[in-house]
């Protein structure tokens, strides 16, 4: 399973943090600090994998954002690269040509998208279209002001 997923900018500003294991605030801060230090120090065109404590760290840079995740021993690093790529694709589809500002100003939506794609450190849905579809429906539901009538959903 993935232990955490972090998004941070080149200047070291955290844009998104998702933790899949319970950690204290202090531990979280330490992990974030260590990740930023290690990943931002890497020169370009180097390997995307690092070893940190007992975890495998996989990171990828997209424009100005670094996507960084920590994997356990049995996990497949190459697949984790694909997971990060898929998340970026989903963000791109949702926001239309996503950039860092979109994620800053709509961070809660970035979380909603993440929660439709990953859960408990594992992949939830492997189909892009299914994720996009359920996001759209949930957003529509949110628009409905009337609190007693819920959008009735067809059963799959």
């Amino acid at each position: 399973m993935m232990r955490f997923l972090l998004l941070f900018s080149r200047q070291g500003k955290l844009r998104l943090q998702k933790w899949f294991t319970p950690l204290t605030d202090r531990e979280k801060k330490k992990v974030i600090r260590d990740m930023m230090m290690m990943v931002l120090a890497r020169p370009p065109r180097t390997c995307n994998f690092l070893q940190w404590r007992d975890l495998k760290i996989v990171y990828k840079r997209y424009a100005s954002l670094y996507f960084c995740t920590g994997l356990e021993d049995q996990d497949n690093e190459l697949l984790a690269l694909e997971v990060l790529h898929r998340y970026v694709e989903l963000l791109d589809k949702y926001f239309g040509n996503v950039c860092e500002l979109d994620i800053i100003f709509n961070f809660e939506k970035a979380y909603f998208i993440l929660d439709e794609f990953l859960m408990g450190g594992e992949i939830l849905e492997t189909s892009r279209m299914a994720v996009a579809g359920s996001l759209e429906e949930a957003d529509t539901l949110q628009e409905v002001k009337d609190q007693t009538v819920y959008y009735s959903v067809p059963q799959y």
Partner: protein
């Protein structure tokens, strides 16, 4: 979805703050406003406020006052509020917070909500931060949802069940039947969730593993469908159909086929098919191939398949993509023990990776290279490794150095080569080697007796060039001390002869002694070496004597002690000097380390060469021999003690007026008379003296001796003693209580003191006796017991 305007305005305001101070100000104002809003019972912008708070939390500011608001929002009937409330719960609450229990009921209600999106929020939150108690409470609900007809809910319930099983192992039993039935789903999301759940169950329970072995044919069938199916736009990634699901199935097959012939047979064909058919141009394909290789190597696969797998790894090694090379080496590391020959074929590529500029790749290449060293390739490998050592990044140096030593230990073709290699490492990376290298090397040198001349010449030259690498300097000093005569002889077959004279050698050693770069241990080595040379050189013995006596007043205690002992060796025990300093015998290797802590801990991986062998530190024997001699002489002094002290006390009785002189005499601390006695009490005809002898660090034996200087007998003589609180006292039986006249017979009383806290020792002594029918009692305080050795 319409953006939250208040939230975006706040974000804009925070971002436009130019300094950290300004930002803090903005955030404090916003937080105050948010807190005020929270206190209001019902308002429209609740979700916006909580979202603002979550943003502030992400910047790193405290947001715990929002926890209760999260709980309230989760209970709200509005979906928008629930959504943000659950997000807040996942960000602000974790199982360590007390407030997290409050949402258990809300989650329970929402799990059976009519809207699937509300259900999914509850499932997601439970899977993110559900504590063990919450999981136990809600597990039956999750099991029900696993059997629902809604795929959207089923896939979420499956991963929620995974989380529950991770938190509470025993609940795995509950989910096993539902998991089994989910395997027949068509929906990839549900299938994926089912495979993850089954993997988790099998990893935790061997019985469940047994039961799920029966599903291997089903899994193989699903996998075949994925591999052979045509293009599916929904799941395609770079030409591979749903690589995520494929990798998970392969991983499950690995667990099911491990150590089981039947299951492994059932998947052989499939694995061969995947290995050959998968396109390896893009990462997705390589991910699947990688997982396939791991599976093949971990189950009981047939040899052809294994060869295929290792070949795939070999292909990976030649790939341009660094990531692929990295994971290839990681995988090869796992099998280098079992398929050694297959991995050896790729040795060239691996050694080339040592020169890769990427630090991660270098690390993997180093570990693998060390594992591939064998008797046949030791010379070429060592050349590469030594090259690597001189250019490698600092964090890998220690590992490289110790790996090289272990490899050299195991496979060195000749002793000379071995010594050369170790010297090379010491000159390039001397600061990063482990402590036991020095005694090991010294032990090695003593065994190579025909190479002593060569070794000492080489080390001398290395010493002249550079005295900063401490291990090298220590070994060099030791060798010069031991084999100084060979060094001065000048002729040596294996190395060009260079004339070395005694002054040069002593200069070199003195430089080491005086240099600020030398550690105290190194200086100890140098001093001992200088001393040893006194028997091996002929002309400059005086120079050595002066060096040694200078260090007799050195601040460093260890050096001072050595210098004093060596001085004594020059002065009093000159007849023994040659014997003490003669050449040391060949040392035995100890397989279990006595002096240094690292013994079995050296075995990091089972494929790594044998652990570093411990040896005795060599400098102890000469010093301890000297000490032993002194102790012997000390013992002979001890036998002289009673006589001197009795002489002292008889002095006391005969001239009570000369107390002052006797006091000084009693405190005479010259080594030949080690036990001082002090007169403690001289009144009414009783003369009491006290002498101490140190038993150990904390215990002391005090002997009180009383005698009678009057003409009348003294009877019922008793002594009582009191000491400070932390000191323990034990009074032995006195020799008697009768003091005859004129001090013919003395009474002695032995008191044993134990002073664990090492406080200043004082003693109060009460003397009581009867003389000529009159009872006397007196108390005297001894404020400090005399210095005892």
């Amino acid at each position: 979805m319409s953006p939250s305007v208040p939230l975006q305005e706040m974000i804009r305001a925070i971002r436009s703050a130019r300094t950290q101070c300004e930002e803090r100000g903005v955030i404090q104002r916003e937080c105050a406003a948010i807190r005020a809003q929270f206190r209001q019972a019902d308002n429209e912008g609740r979700s916006h406020n909580l979202a603002k708070l979550l943003y502030v939390h992400m910047l790193g500011y405290p947001a715990h006052f929002g926890q209760m608001e999260c709980v309230r929002m989760i209970a709200s009937p509005r979906y928008s509020e629930k959504r943000v409330g659950y997000l807040g719960a996942m960000m602000l609450l974790d199982e360590k917070q007390d407030a997290s229990l409050l949402i258990t009921n809300s989650i329970k209600n929402d799990l059976s909500h009519s809207s699937q999106f509300v259900q999914s929020l509850a499932l997601c939150t439970l899977a993110c931060m559900g504590s063990a108690e919450m999981c136990r409470d809600l597990a039956p609900e999750i099991d029900k949802l696993l059997r629902s007809s809604n795929s959207y809910i089923k896939k979420k319930a499956a991963l929620c069940a995974v989380h529950i099983v991770r938190k509470v192992n025993e609940l795995g039993e509950l989910f096993a039947p539902a998991a089994r039935s989910l395997l027949s789903e068509k929906n990839h999301g549900v299938l994926h969730g089912a495979v993850v759940l089954i993997t988790e169950l099998c990893e935790r329970s061997p019985e469940t593993l047994e039961r799920f072995r029966k599903s291997v044919p089903e899994l193989v069938h699903i996998m075949k469908g994925l591999v052979l199916s045509g293009y599916s736009p929904e799941h395609d990634v770079a030409g591979i159909s749903d690589p995520f699901l494929q990798v998970r199935i392969l991983r499950l097959l690995r667990i099911l086929g491990h150590n089981n012939e039947v299951a492994s047979d059932a998947m052989n064909d499939l694995l061969a098919q995947v290995a050959t058919n998968t396109d390896s141009t893009k990462t997705a394909g390589n991910a699947v191939l990688y997982e396939t290789v791991l599976t093949v190597l971990d189950i009981k696969s047939e040899s052809g398949l294994r060869v295929l797998a290792v070949n795939i790894l070999g292909r990976f090694l030649l790939n341009n993509d660094r990531n692929i090379r990295y994971i290839a080496m990681t995988s090869l590391q796992k099998i280098v023990g079992t398929d050694h020959i297959a991995v050896q074929r790729h040795r060239g590529t691996i050694v080339d990776c040592l020169k890769d500029p990427d630090a991660s790749v270098k690390r993997r290449a180093l570990e693998l290279s060390l594992a591939l060293v064998s008797a046949s390739n030791i010379r070429s490998m060592m050349k590469e490794l030594l090259n690597f050592l001189s250019t490698c990044p600092l964090e890998l140096r220690a590992q490289a150095a110790s790996g090289i030593f272990a490899a050299a230990e195991r496979y060195s073709p000749s002793q000379r080569w071995h010594i050369d290699t170790i010297l090379h490492v010491l000159t390039t990376a001397g600061g990063d080697v482990r402590d036991e290298t020095v005694p090991n090397l010294i032990q090695l040198i003593t065994t190579a007796s025909e190479l002593h001349c060569y070794t000492v010449h080489k080390l001398y030259r290395a010493l002249l060039q550079d005295i900063s690498q401490q291990p090298l300097v220590q070994v060099a000093c030791w060798c010069i001390g031991e084999y100084g005569d060979l060094l001065l002889k000048g002729d040596c077959q294996e190395i060009e002869p260079v004339q070395v004279n005694e002054n040069d050698v002593l200069d070199a050693l003195e430089t080491v002694l005086q240099s600020h770069m030398s550690s105290p241990t190194t200086r100890g080595f140098a001093l001992t070496a200088t001393m040893k040379l006194s028997t091996r050189i002929t002309e400059n013995v005086d120079r050595i004597r002066s060096i040694v006596s200078i260090y007799g007043s050195c601040i460093d205690l260890e050096l001072q002690q050595r210098a004093v002992e060596y001085n004594a060796l020059f002065k009093k025990y000159d007849h023994m000097r040659a014997a003490v300093l003669e050449r040391m015998p060949i040392m035995e290797k100890n397989s279990t380390g006595q002096t240094n802590g690292e013994t079995t801990g050296e075995l990091v991986k089972e494929v790594q060469p044998v652990k570093v062998i411990q040896g005795q530190p060599p400098t102890q024997p000469p010093a301890s021999q000297v000490c032993d001699l002194l102790d012997l002489l000390g013992d002979s002094n001890d036998s002289g003690k009673p006589s001197s002290s009795s002489a002292q006390s008889s002095n006391n009785t005969s001239s009570p007026g000369g107390d002052l002189l006797d006091l000084l005499g009693g405190l005479d601390l010259m080594p030949p008379t080690p036990v001082p006695t002090i007169p403690v009490y001289e009144k009414n005809g009783v003369n009491l003296t006290l002498s101490c002898q140190k038993q150990s660090e904390t215990s002391l034996i005090v002997t009180l001796t009383a005698s009678n200087s009057t003409d009348a007998d003294i009877t019922t003589f008793t002594l009582q003693a009191a000491v400070p609180k932390s000191v323990q006292l034990l009074m032995k039986a006195p020799s008697g209580d009768h003091l005859p006249a004129c001090g013919t017979v003395k009474v002695t009383q032995v008191v044993v003191l134990n002073n664990p806290n090492k406080v200043n020792l004082k003693m109060r002594i009460r003397v009581s006796f009867t003389s000529q029918g009159v009872a006397f009692q007196d108390t005297v305080q001894v404020d400090s017991l005399p210095e005892c050795r």
